[in-house]
């Protein structure tokens, strides 16, 4: 039997919810049908009345997930440093904001609160007594473009190593450990505009070798491609960064040891993915390598299926993608 505990984040259903195409109940029923052990909600996205939902809404929400026999696991919150022109939030703002969100998380029955690195380690330490008193695991999400060695995350790690508390931790998102683009990355480009077969060959070489990008571009030109193919490769195959957002691609060297190190401070993680093929393979992210580490380290927390691939027109639904993701993880766990 697999020991992995699965969660599904409602985040992936956000666009349909924000556009009024689906209600929270519709989405929870869909997630229920997938058969995960728990779910995650993004507080500003689906908690009506955020940041101060009404008693009535909270009661209805609890009644809803109980009726569907679902388990709330993670309450995702933010540190909205863009709120004020000309400055980040102050410590008072970060501290009181997070307590407010933790109170609602507790009242709604969640176990884990996921915040962001903008919280800063010093404020996190001040929040430890509240996490302990509320019996919540307060965590910051490690998300691309950051890696375990990013200075701001090292400060959190130093705090966690010092205080050794089960109430503080990380939510690792696999966007910090991506090797290359997903297999579906070229789906939205018409065949007549590029040499797709050649570009897929280059994509796989990029992900599985350290051949310099300049040499890969020369191969495109020498193997039948043209400048348009080189342009696509530069834009879509070699990076997932958009300024300070998005993710880098780490090719053959995502930070496996950083992942292992952070696992001891993790009770929940974001299994970010873009596409799982019919053979239960997620090209671009080394799930076999990371699940092996999780098993070696006896990881007992949840892994959430966080789908972000609909932009690439994969040809199957989000629900099918998540079902495949869960099956893939269970298979890899068994085989590890």
């Amino acid at each position: 039997m697999s020991k992995l505990k699965h969660s599904v984040t409602l985040y992936g259903f956000g666009p349909e919810y924000m556009r009024g195409q689906k209600s929270l109940e519709d989405i929870l029923k869909q997630v229920k049908s997938i058969g995960a052990d728990g779910f995650e909600i993004v507080s500003p996205q689906m908690v009506d009345g955020h940041p101060n939902p009404s008693e009535e809404w909270i009661k209805r929400f609890i009644d809803l997930y109980r009726r569907l026999e679902m388990t709330p696991v993670c309450y995702s919150i933010y540190v909205d440093n863009g709120k004020h022109k000309g400055r980040f939030l102050t410590e008072d703002e970060r501290f009181t904001w997070t307590i407010n969100e933790m109170e609602y998380a507790k009242r709604m029955g969640f176990q884990v609160v996921r915040s962001q690195e903008g919280l800063l380690a010093g404020t996190m330490e001040k929040l430890l007594p509240y996490a302990k008193a509320l019996n919540l695991h307060l965590s910051v999400e490690l998300h691309g473009p950051h890696t375990p060695d990013s200075p701001v995350f090292r400060e959190f790690e130093e705090l966690y190593d010092r205080v050794k508390s089960p109430y503080l931790g990380f939510v690792m998102d696999f966007s910090s450990f991506i090797s290359g683009p997903p297999a579906t990355v070229l789906n939205t480009i018409p065949d007549e505009l590029c040499n797709k077969e050649l570009l897929h060959k280059i994509r796989r070489l990029f992900e599985t070798t350290e051949i310099p990008v300049e040499e890969l571009n020369c191969r495109i030109l020498s193997e039948g491609g043209d400048e348009a193919d080189v342009y696509i490769a530069n834009k879509k195959l070699y990076t997932g960064r958009h300024g300070k957002m998005g993710s880098d691609y780490f090719r053959t060297h995502p930070d496996y040891e950083g992942f292992r190190r952070y696992l001891k401070h993790s009770k929940y993680m974001h299994g970010k993915f873009f596409h799982i093929d019919k053979n239960l393979v997620s090209e671009g992210i080394d799930y076999p390598g990371f699940v092996k580490i999780m098993k070696e380290e006896n990881y007992e927390g949840f892994i959430a299926s966080e789908y972000e691939g609909s932009q690439f027109n994969p040809g199957i639904t989000q629900v099918e993608e998540i079902e495949r993701h869960i099956r893939m993880l269970d298979k890899l766990w068994e085989e590890a």
């Binding site: 924000m18 863009g82 004020h84 000309g86 903008g118 342009y231 609909s310």
Partner: protein, 165 residues
């Protein structure tokens, strides 16, 4: 097709694909109406679609400009309507307490005696807003000069032909 022709098409496609899944079309279709107050038309209004996958703070708006049928609307005549409040668009940056969530009905009201004539009108909205969150961190003003995601607001332009019935 020449390489140059392909490049033009690809550039256009990739620029467009960056917007897929984002919320870059604020004008709500079919929402333009005149405001009739006791038989007096005091202006017109149209709805706005949310601009984020998770909702936004009104204070992140830095500028909202509206053009109607080719003429720019005076900003002093425009308010944003949300949660039973009507906030002048030039004052939005001061409203860091107001969150625009998925369930909130939001729109712009332009005060103009007589409103718009019945028929179709071309509405253009040009706005700038900061991201609500980013990955550059700091406390207060410390290190803020590095926060490119906040220092360079998003520029969103949308246009639509709406009809006043």
């Amino acid at each position: 097709m020449t390489v140059e022709e392909k490049m033009i098409k690809i550039q256009k496609l990739l620029e467009g694909s960056a917007a897929i899944g984002r919320f870059n079309n604020p004008i709500k279709e079919g929402s333009l109406t005149n405001r009739n107050i006791c038989g007096v038309t005091t202006g017109y209004t149209f709805g706005l679609n949310n601009l984020s996958y998770r909702g936004i703070w009104l204070s992140t708006f830095e500028d909202i400009k509206i053009m109607v049928d080719g003429s720019e609307v005076l900003q002093e005549n425009v308010v944003l309507s949300i949660k039973d409040m009507k906030i002048p668009v030039r004052d939005l940056s001061g409203h860091s307490e107001v969150f625009w969530g998925a369930e909130d009905v939001c729109g712009l009201i332009v005060y103009q005696i007589g409103g718009l004539a019945a028929g179709k009108h071309k509405i253009v909205i040009d706005l700038k807003r900061r991201n609500d969150f980013g990955h550059t961190v700091g406390n207060g003003t410390q290190g803020y000069e590095e926060a490119q995601e906040f220092l360079n607001p998003l520029h969103i332009r949308d246009e639509a032909e709406l009809e006043v019935m």
